[in-house]
């Protein structure tokens, strides 16, 4: 059970990020979470959206470099130590997290962490063994 994340390659030029958000707005796509990784010359914008296919099509059409990445969305308690517990479940099994970012949604007392990891089946198994709640794409879009 994984989620599609949309990744966009962005040159460090003024107005590029604004163009992404405007394009998504015009396509009626709602951004649920995002993270931006940057270097001196460029950045990579990672997005969790309600309509990934529509988002990718719209961005590609206006000339952005877009890729889809499989990520895992895990619900965690919104309190000190919540993220540590989730990370611990994965690292204890020797799994290597490429990157993660979290957001606090409108889902009771819980927050959501998005995890990118190379070994998805092992990660899902490790999370489920410790009864972590992995969100489906449908659940995620309702947040």
């Amino acid at each position: 059970m994984t989620t599609v994340q949309i990744s966009v390659f962005l040159e460090n030029k003024s107005g590029r990020l604004a163009e992404v958000t405007r394009t998504l707005a015009e396509a009626g796509v709602n951004i649920r979470a995002l993270s931006l990784a940057e270097t001196i010359d460029y950045g990579v914008l990672r997005l969790i959206v309600d309509k990934p296919t529509a988002a990718k099509d719209a961005l590609t059409r206006v000339g952005f470099t877009v890729s889809e990445t499989e990520v895992i969305a895990v619900e965690m308690p919104d309190r000190p130590g919540g993220l540590a517990e989730v990370v611990d479940m994965l690292t204890r099994g020797g799994l290597n997290i490429e990157y993660l970012y979290a957001f606090v949604g409108q889902r009771g007392q819980n927050a959501v962490v998005i995890i990118r990891i190379d070994t998805v089946p092992e990660a899902l198994a490790a999370l489920q063994a410790r009864s972590a709640h992995v969100l489906s794409a449908a659940e995620l879009s309702k947040i």
Binding site: T39, D41, Y42, V44, G63, F64, T65, S67, E98, Y99
Partner: protein, 429 residues
Amino acid sequence: MEFMESSALRALQSKRLRDAVKRAYERVPHYRAKLDAAGVKPADIRGMDDLERLPFTTKDDLRETYPFGMFAVPMDEVVRIHASSGTTGKSTVVGYTRKDVATWAEVMARTLAAGGTHRGDIVQNSYGYGLFTGGLGAHYGAELIGASVIPTSGGQTQRQIQIMQDFGATVLCCTPSYALVIAETGKEMGVDWDAMPLRVGFFGAEPWSQTMRAEIENALKVHALDIYGLSEIIGPGVGFECLEKTGLHLNEDHFYPEVIDPATGTQMKPGERGEVVFTAFTKEALPLLRYRTRDLTRLIPEPCPCGRTLRRMERVTGRSDDMLIIRGVNVFPSQIEQVLIGIEGTTPNYLLVVDRKPRQMDELEVQVEVSAERFSDEIAKLEAVAARIRAGIENALGLHVSVKLVEPKTIERSMGKAKRVVDRRDLGQ
């Protein structure tokens, strides 16, 4: 020789041309085939007036006969081999007999003497020593004059300046951009250039401008003279400026210049701009007939106030092909393309941006479009792609470059053919 009457010079050139054509025809099968194809026999070439009947020689001829196929002497007469990077991975190889090395020393001695270099001078030679002809070319010329040569080669600027100060260098040989690096680094080290004995510098191996000359002269307190050469003809020493600084005298008793229309191959009228072509008629190991340099310039018909009768050529301002010269290294965009084709995660769409920031060496930035299909969203993987490109180019060209990943389709495409090069260096007159 440098002040020879022009009719006597013409007679000498005619004799040397006849000899060169005969030697090339008899000893180089490639030339025999070329001349036969053009329907020219050595006996048809009686003097300089017949020069235009000869076919051109190009870099392709050297490539096809790589490495030694154009040599007109057996290898046991070749005492030196140099090479420069070629367009398709194979280098351009040049050979010298003992007499060629002596000719080279002679033309470089003229070059250095034209700027006032004499016995007793201390010549710091910061051209690179190695396959590149710059270092050894200047070295032998300075030795022939009887000056004391310090073979520092390039790099280690602070140490260079220390040596320059301690040994009391009076003459400097290096690329113009390196001269500015030396000036700036020296200033940071607290060197007072006014108080240094340095008097004159011979700068070449890359294009530069009058503005840069003023900058170098102002910073280093020297006469900054332009020198011209290419390894195929001999290396540095093909042309040199005298202290009039009004164009490069060509050593035309050895290297005969013509200026042609690069599109049609016909000779331009005297003084018109075009591509300069040289016939290296005294070279024993590698005689070249009408070698196309791809350098754009013009010959100056008026005599020079210095009295030398050797004709002058204007500073080279461009190329009739897409070759770039960066820090003395010849770079063809096709070489970069070859490297990119072998690297996953990029497209072969690229742009070369050459820049010369104030008081710095020329820099080449390679902008490469990220492939939409293979684009990784992990910075570490993208950085690894950039590092592979950097290493690949350094391996192929021996040149450090910076690599910038850019969005696809940001690189301008014009008329179906992409614009590959942006040269931001000020290379105007």
